[in-house]
């Protein structure tokens, strides 16, 4: 046999191709992104608004505390209320590996997220990894070549799971790794979805700090101090707007974020495309403000999608091609779209919030505090 490995592999794997179906999946994913350009636009717009913002950003850990780290994604992400500091616990763990040190600098639990800021430091480095605050991940198609961390098998850009008192939780939302101000230092923010988790006043956190070759999990203890500042508001009655009903499912006020989950219950007879449009308008244009529209809060995250009476079905086209689409299961029943929002908190809590995207499409949420959870 006298041929290149490539020729040989191509012949033997001739049946492994990028099928039309797969190309179609890519086109569909791209179309979906084209339909939702709002996020990048919104982020830029909100970043500009920040210049006029008046909320407090804390100076923590020499400028690279948890909240300031979040602010490297978008500056206003650092905006939290002063009592957020009571949620932050510092210097939680230190581990020394062959080439790098790992420090869990700060972590904050607010019942919705566990946010962690940790530093990985190459002990042999003689200079910062990059200009302090520069992302080591975003805008790069490959990770920054952090050789010392890679040699130790450290997961330095993100973490794929955590355990809180033995309960598995997943990462959710944004994350970032930036060059720190010290030599050889990368600082990473990661957050985990802890909603609904039942935890005692003191609990353990386990993070998979070292990966596949030599697994190593890092453990530390936290408590729930500061949670008295986190509380739900009483959801207002549902409100009908045109061909759908706005139903606030949950609104939780935290010094770090205001979290809102709402359902848009869309009348029977409205097709799926319009249902997406109705929800899409909320996602792209809704603002949270005082009842009179003043003091708009700043967007921090959002998500949406159908929660009932819909299915994702395959449609067979000609020539063996196929596509997928959302379809309403029972056209005689309403379709519920869920929209989830996170906003940075207001400087002063209002008597009522106004959440909406037009003169008609809005709902008032009285600031009726329920007991802290």
């Amino acid at each position: 046999m006298n041929k290149s490995f490539k020729q040989h592999a191509d012949e033997r794997l001739a049946h492994i191709t990028m099928s039309e179906g797969l190309k179609h999946r890519v086109r569909q994913a791209i179309q979906k992104e084209q339909r939702t350009p709002y996020l990048s636009t919104l982020r830029v717009a909100l970043a500009a608004v920040l210049l006029l913002g008046t909320l407090t950003a804390f100076a923590l850990s020499g400028g690279f505390g948890l909240f300031e780290l979040m602010g490297t994604v978008l500056p206003h992400f650092a905006n939290v209320r002063p009592e957020a500091d009571t949620l932050v616990q510092r210097n939680l763990a230190h581990y020394r590996f062959e080439h790098v040190d790992v420090d869990i600098r700060e972590a904050a639990y607010d019942g919705r997220y566990l946010r962690v800021a940790y530093a990985i430091t190459d002990r042999a480095a003689t200079a910062p990894l990059d200009t302090p605050g520069t992302s080591l991940v975003d805008g790069r198609m490959e990770n920054y070549p952090f050789t010392a961390a890679n040699q130790d098998g450290i997961w330095w850009t993100t973490l794929d799971w955590a355990e809180l008192n033995g309960q598995h939780v997943n990462p959710l939302g944004m994350t970032i790794s930036v060059a720190g101000p010290n030599n050889g230092e990368a600082i990473t923010w990661v957050q985990f979805d802890v909603q609904g988790l039942e935890l005692p006043s003191t609990f353990t956190v386990r993070l998979p700090i070292r990966g596949s070759d030599t697994p190593h999990e890092l453990e530390f203890t936290m408590d729930k101090s500061g949670m008295e500042h986190v509380f739900p508001l009483a959801p207002p009655p549902d409100k009908r707007v045109g061909n759908y009903v706005i139903s606030i499912q949950d609104i939780t006020v935290s010094p770090i974020r205001t979290y809102i989950t709402l359902h848009l219950i869309i009348d029977p007879g409205v097709d799926m495309e319009e249902a997406w449009d109705i929800a899409g308008q909320w996602v792209t244009a809704a603002t949270l403000s005082d009842a009179d529209g003043k003091n708009p809060q700043q967007w921090a995250d959002t998500g949406f999608g159908p929660v009932d009476n819909t299915e994702w079905v395959r449609i067979d086209l000609t020539d063996g091609k196929f596509d997928y689409e959302d379809r309403i299961i029972d056209p005689d029943k309403p379709v519920t779209m869920m929209v989830f929002f996170e906003f940075t908190p207001p400087e002063q809590y209002p008597d009522a919030f106004r959440l909406g995207h037009s003169e008609q499409d809005f709902i008032l949420i009285p600031f009726t505090r329920l007991p802290a959870q």
Binding site: K6, R12, I16, E33, E142, P145, N150
Partner: protein
């Protein structure tokens, strides 16, 4: 496979078209790249992941990332090399996710049954020998002998030092030499 010094292989000429035409819209560019590079990337991802469905996920994600990042693509490398880098990182990420899905995370991902399931895998001595290598040895071999990347590009794609790539390739070739005593390749 001969253990003789290896010349730098060239990237398959048909795969490298360089800069997109200014008249192309971004979706058209992605369409063209899928037509030109899709099959090759699919084979690469299949060999890296050993599972058809995972390879499809990796290729889909690769082109989606390419779509997002193309406006920032400065053509310092060819489209082919650039896409390969994205695909390699995507495959590495998928491997990690497969490992993290396991109940017992102390299991080495290289030992996960099913991650390298041989569905649609040909009964082929050479490919089986390559697939039997651990990923850290297999990846440089695939990137060099299948994708045609020079060592420096492999180091960049895998996020490891050039010297590490060289050492792993040398060890991999020695392992393959033992496994394929009855066979030989020019490259």
């Amino acid at each position: 496979m001969q253990a003789t010094p290896q010349p730098q292989p060239e990237a398959p000429a048909a795969l490298d078209t360089g800069v997109h035409t200014p008249a192309e819209t971004l979706p058209q560019t992605i369409e063209r790249m899928m037509n030109e590079h899709g099959d090759g990337l699919m084979k690469l991802c299949f060999m890296m992941l050993g599972e058809h469905a995972l390879a499809e996920d990796a290729v889909q994600e690769t082109f989606l990332k390419a779509y997002r990042a193309y406006p920032k693509f400065r053509h310092e490398a060819s489209e082919y090399t650039w896409l390969t880098r994205i695909a390699v990182n995507t495959c590495k990420s998928l491997r990690a996710r497969a490992w993290f899905r396991l109940e017992d995370r102390r299991v080495n991902p290289e030992d996960i049954p099913g991650l390298h399931a041989r569905e649609q895998w040909p009964d082929d001595t050479v490919l089986n020998a390559v697939m039997a290598l651990k990923p850290k040895y297999r990846d440089p071999i695939l990137l060099h002998y299948y994708q045609g990347l020079p060592v420096k590009e492999i180091a960049r794609a895998l996020g490891i030092a050039v010297s590490t790539v060289s050492v792993r390739m040398l060890r991999a070739r020695n392992m393959l030499k033992d496994a394929l005593k009855e066979w030989y390749f020019d490259e």
